[in-house]
């Protein structure tokens, strides 16, 4: 897209190019959502098919039909109350854990970006942290920290910290070398360079990390709750109990709730990202 340059006089004014039209609501919005809605309808159809055609009636409890899941899981006030309480405790752990991960992860990444020695010293251990099977570490954490909220938060942080560090570091290091030259020529201090160049340049990658970590923090909250199995019952404990008691309607409803929590956090950060960098960031173009 080349805007016309002023003709002839060299310093001529330029015509204002029409900005791309704002995304039209209505038809194009529907066109965006429709394919997913259709696929969703197909999947529910397959679900019904499995329940009523594939499964023998005596084994139908293995996959109750969607309307039973909704009726028992969400319209039975006792079950719903239990589910909402579980959602509250799990969401609380996920969000606090995520907040800790963000602060801790970004701090570590900033330190790593400032000093190569710190980066070289910490990186292998961060990879190890990431590689630890969470199933192996959960019993250890309950030995050391009990099964309360703190222990859950630790599980949550261990799971969600790594993508934040890696993406933030990648983002901080993504500024163009020529831009660094520009700051060097003006004798910019480390702090100025970090604040005015590296952090803003890193925002797209940082948000990518946040969205990954947000999903993981929900998983972390539920896994911790599931394995500790004590204390305030979150979604993890509900899943375990429903599974043990073969309450498949509630089990599926709890899975849906857990999934919705992850989706909500993911969408929230997508929204924050659009607000923060949508105006200037264009995926796939440098500079």
């Amino acid at each position: 897209m080349t805007a016309p340059l002023g003709g002839g006089d060299g310093l001529g004014r330029v015509e204002i190019p029409t900005p791309p039209p704002a995304r039209r609501r209505g038809s194009s919005w529907l066109a965006t959502v429709l394919p997913a809605l259709l696929l969703g309808a197909v999947l529910i159809g397959v679900w019904y098919l499995c329940t009523y055609v594939v499964l023998d009636p005596r084994r139908r409890f293995l996959l109750p039909p969607p309307h039973d899941v909704v009726r028992v899981g969400f319209f039975d006030s006792e079950n719903l109350g239990e589910m909402l309480d579980g959602l509250y405790w799990s969401a609380r752990v996920a969000l606090i854990g995520l907040a800790i991960s963000i602060v801790l992860g970004m701090t570590i990444a900033i330190l790593m970006s400032q000093t190569v020695v710190i980066e070289r010293a910490t990186y292998p251990f961060l990879v190890m942290l990431q590689a630890i099977p969470i199933l192996a570490i959960v019993p250890l954490i309950s030995f050391w920290f009990g099964t309360g909220e703190n222990a859950r938060l630790i599980v949550c942080v261990i799971i969600s910290l790594f993508p934040i560090i890696v993406n933030t570091l990648f983002g901080l290091q993504s500024a163009d070398p020529a831009m660094h030259d520009l700051f060097t020529l003006e004798h910019a201090s480390r702090a100025t360079r970090l604040r005015k160049l590296m952090l803003p340049a890193g925002l797209p990658a940082i948000f990518a990390g946040l969205r990954i970590a947000a999903g993981l923090s929900v998983i972390g909250a539920i896994v911790g709750d599931f394995f500790f199995g004590r204390g305030k019952p979150g979604i993890g404990q509900l899943l375990k109990r429903y599974a043990n008691q073969l309450e498949s309607e509630q089990l599926l409803a709890a899975v849906i709730v857990a999934c919705m929590l992850g989706v909500a956090v993911f969408l929230f950060f997508g929204w924050v990202q659009a607000r923060a960098i949508g105006k200037w960031y264009e995926a796939g173009t440098a500079r």
Binding site: T2, L5, G6, V14, A178, T184, E186, W280, T285
Partner: protein, 245 residues
């Protein structure tokens, strides 16, 4: 009267990996002079400019230059994409700790000079390649440095845009009266812009020829089709190829 704006004295540059980029370069740039360096790629032109700006330390020789009074125009626009045109043009004044009002005034002047008036609130992503380059020019211009270093600034834009940018840069050169050291591999660009053209040899770079350009300013776009223009371009081209051995 003050001395030259910039003096290279016996500059040599060998990189730590043993690459000898510049053999020996000495020349100076007078105030209000427009000197262009042409040379094959890899002849150390950009290296020379980075040495002048203090981004690199030469392994031999000295540079005399007032680095506080220096404007550097990069090969790419290198605009900060999260800043609007105005905020980009304000950047250098901001890094030098100038106050908000002064920044705004300096930026507006520079934006007007390059013809980006009306685009102050645009982000780089909505500008064309030529407009981005002019924004980059305005950023350097904002502090009104008396010496400009141009590192092959218009290499990435199309021919027509490049000629427009050449004419705009020359117009600024005439009105602002800065000294310019300009790097390019386009002979036509060199002849059109400069008071003097310096030809460098392939790596390791050294000055192989120097041409005074006799045309008066202001130069009209038609100058490019003048027979004398073609003759001089031919001579420079010959010198360039001679350097190739």
């Amino acid at each position: 009267m003050v001395g030259p704006a910039l003096t290279f004295d016996g500059i040599g540059m060998t990189f730590p990996d043993g690459t000898r980029a510049i053999a020996e370069v000495s020349f100076s740039l007078d105030r209000r002079e427009f000197v262009t360096i042409v040379g094959p790629s890899g002849c150390g032109k950009s290296t020379l400019l980075r040495i002048a700006a203090g981004l690199l330390e030469p392994t031999a020789g000295t540079v005399e230059i007032d680095r506080e009074q220096l404007g550097y125009v990069f090969q790419d626009p290198t605009l900060l994409p999260w800043r609007t045109v105005r905020q980009n043009v304000e950047l250098l004044a901001e890094l030098r700790g100038k106050g908000r009002q002064e920044r705004a005034r300096l930026a507006q002047d520079a934006i007007d000079l390059v013809g980006l008036t009306g685009f102050e609130g645009h982000y780089p992503k909505s500008l064309s390649g030529g407009m981005r380059m002019r924004c980059s020019l305005a950023r350097t211009l904002a502090l009104r440095p008396p010496v400009f270093l141009f590192d092959e600034p218009f290499g990435a834009v199309d021919e027509i845009t490049r000629e427009h940018l050449n004419e705009q840069t020359l117009a600024l050169f005439e009105t602002e009266g800065f000294a310019a050291l300009f790097i390019t591999h386009s002979i036509a660009e060199a002849v059109f812009m400069s008071t003097r053209v310096i030809v460098m040899s392939p790596r390791p770079g050294r000055v192989v020829a120097e041409f005074a350009v006799p045309f008066d300013y202001p130069r009209s776009p038609e100058l490019r089709f003048d027979p004398d223009f073609a003759l001089l371009s031919g001579d420079i081209s010959k010198a360039l190829r001679g350097g190739n051995g």
